[in-house]
């Protein structure tokens, strides 16, 4: 009989925590254990109740004014202290820019493994957690198991769907926490100057790569995107090298899952492809018929995006009526 028990979910982003709850419930049921959540912040009573409605059996709440915003040392102190005393079997942590260092350091402090960015999670015949993650720049999916407990995995946003909230009961346990002094000072925090709509939410994405000659030409993509109620995206070189866009689609940028992804003038390096693999339909428009993007596209057009895009807009307008 293992002394470890319970599946935990934690994310400083409440929405991501709720996404993990559905998967966490499934794992907890398979392991015949409870689903627990750790909630850290200030005035988070409502969030605690919501976690219960989504399927959590017990919520540990660290509520303190000093925990209002994310602080690595302080949050790590809370999670580590609790993990040492409660010995969870599985810990799922939201794979955000702050959550990932938190998970890695928790695993290190506990002397255990960590499988980051799991897009799939399952339990094998030995009751061991198996994390599935993209590796080798999108060339492969690895399945990784753990040799020790707690088994710590991180989960990116949108990897799992939220379940339906129900009227159910759970326990809320208020923790008595000592907050560790922050070792870094946040001098300034500015919201990102991006559009208010998240590209992960887009059902249609019209995306461009180096085949776009001038920044102003994105109007071609904008027009098609507007017609399809979608958004415009780009590949990494357009954002990082040319600075035409603030963010990009790909393994190191945003991973998206639209119904339709139209890649225009994008060669299709493996990192970009890894970011769009969950798209339902992929269309590629490229002048170079040997561009790798055609290998992963449902519909490929060898042609000039400057001719194809306006024509496609007209054709769709006509056929959609």
């Amino acid at each position: 009989m293992s002394e470890f028990g319970g599946v935990w979910v934690f994310s400083e982003k409440h929405d991501l925590a709720l996404e993990m709850v559905g998967k966490g419930r499934e794992i907890a049921d398979k392991l015949k254990t409870e689903l627990e959540a750790v909630l850290i912040g200030e005035g988070v009573k409502e969030e605690a109740n919501e976690l219960v409605r989504y399927g959590v059996d017990r919520v540990y709440v660290a509520d303190d004014s000093a925990l209002k915003s994310f602080q690595l040392e302080a949050y790590l102190g809370v999670l580590h202290g609790l993990a040492v005393s409660r010995k969870p079997e599985v810990v799922l942590i939201g794979s955000t820019r702050n959550g990932k260092p938190l998970a890695a350091r928790l695993a290190t402090r506990l002397g255990v493994g960590c499988v980051p960015d799991c897009i799939g999670l399952s339990v094998d015949e030995h009751g061991r957690l198996i994390g599935e993650r993209i590796t080798y720049g999108g060339n492969a999916v690895a399945k990784i198991g753990f040799k020790a407990k707690p088994q710590i995995a991180t989960v990116p946003a949108r990897a799992f769907e939220k379940s339906e909230p129900k009227d159910r009961r759970g326990e809320v346990v208020m923790l008595d926490v000592k907050v560790e002094e922050p070792k870094t000072v946040v001098v300034e925090a500015k919201p990102l100057e991006t559009s208010s709509v998240r590209i992960e939410d887009a059902s249609v994405i019209v995306s461009c790569g180096r085949g776009l000659s001038k920044k102003e030409d994105r109007v071609l993509l904008d027009e098609l995107a507007v017609l399809l109620c979608g958004q415009v995206g780009c590949s990494r070189p357009l954002a990082e090298d040319r600075k035409w866009f603030g963010e990009w689609v790909g393994l190191s940028g945003h991973k998206v899952k639209p119904k339709l992804y139209i890649a225009c003038g994008i060669s299709g390096v493996i990192q970009h492809v890894a970011g769009i693999r969950d798209a339902k339909v992929i269309v590629a428009v490229n002048k170079d018929e040997s561009a790798p993007i055609f290998e992963v596209a449902d519909y490929g057009v060898v042609g000039n995006l400057y001719e194809i895009l306006p024509a496609l807009k007209e054709a769709l307008k006509k056929q959609l009526g």
């Binding site: 890695a104 590796t135 990784i144 870094t184 946040v186 925090a189 500015k190 990102l192 519909y299 060898v302």
Partner: protein, 268 residues
């Protein structure tokens, strides 16, 4: 005293990674042909090294050392690092590192950094080109008990502190921390230089220090992997790969529009 003096020594952690853009897949078995794949300096680490060199160029009198933990031949990568401008390269090379995971790697890095000593900043790439785990920097910070600044896309030294811009999902945070610190950088931070022939020639005289596990007193039980890779396979691609052809753009566009409507991915 050293804090008053400001930044003196930077240790940059460098990984030799599989060049994933040249990785081949056996399509029948979906196995990756990793053994024959070319390797190179992990590009995120190259950004970290570039940043360290830029700091030295700005402040002067700063040592930039690189550190690599490996069981492979990494000479070409280290020569490149020295040509870019690193002052000295350290490598901990041991056949026992063959199956180390992120914990073991961070543990050996930590032991080596302690031995190198006297550092103000440890610089890492945010993640690695091949495994893309992004755990080693954080694990290293934990093992060394260092303050950690991750996802850094802009860096400045101000006296005894580092001021960094961190790119988060929905905000950009400017943070300040006293040295010593561990900083992991994103690829946005800079465009790494390409060494000139002159720099390459000069680098051939620079020192590469090689240690084995025993030189650091590495405890073998610490480097045992804490995870077990069950399977690594290329994903199944189930794309239709239909080429749409036509006399002109209009004809192609009309065929494509029809296909997309049939797929039910456009319109209401």
């Amino acid at each position: 005293l050293r804090e008053k003096m400001g930044l003196k020594r930077i240790v940059v952690c460098l990984k030799q990674a599989v060049d994933v853009s040249q990785l081949k897949v056996d399509s029948a078995s979906r196995q990756l042909l990793v053994a024959g794949a070319p390797k190179k300096m992990s590009d995120f680490d190259k950004n970290a090294l570039e940043e360290a060199i830029r700091i030295r160029e700005k402040l002067g009198d700063v040592e930039v050392f690189t550190l690599t933990v490996t069981c492979e031949d990494v000479k070409a990568v280290l020569r490149e690092a020295l040509a870019m401008g690193a002052d000295k390269a350290y490598v901990v090379s041991d056949p026992s590192f063959k199956d180390v995971d992120t914990f073991g790697t961070a543990y050996v890095l930590a032991e080596a950094i302690r031995k190198i000593g006297d550092f103000s900043v440890v610089l890492c790439g945010e993640t690695s080109l091949d495994s893309f785990c992004g755990l080693v920097g954080s694990r290293l910070a934990e093992l060394l008990g260092l303050v950690q600044l991750s996802s850094v896309r802009k860096l400045a030294v101000e006296g005894d502190a580092i001021v960094a811009e961190r790119a988060l999902e929905d905000s950009v945070e400017t943070v300040r921390a006293k040295m010593p610190v561990l900083v992991s950088v994103t690829r946005e931070i800079n465009q790494p230089r390409i060494p000139s022939l002159m720099m390459i020639m000069k680098a051939s005289k620079k020192e590469i220090v090689t240690w084995a596990a025993a030189d650091l007193g590495v405890q073998m039980e610490k480097i045992g992997s804490k995870i077990e890779v069950v399977e690594v396979l290329a994903p199944k691609t189930e794309r239709k790969r239909i080429r749409i052809k036509g006399e002109n753009a209009r004809e192609i566009a009309e065929k494509l529009a029809r296909a997309l409507i049939e797929e039910g991915v456009v319109g209401r």
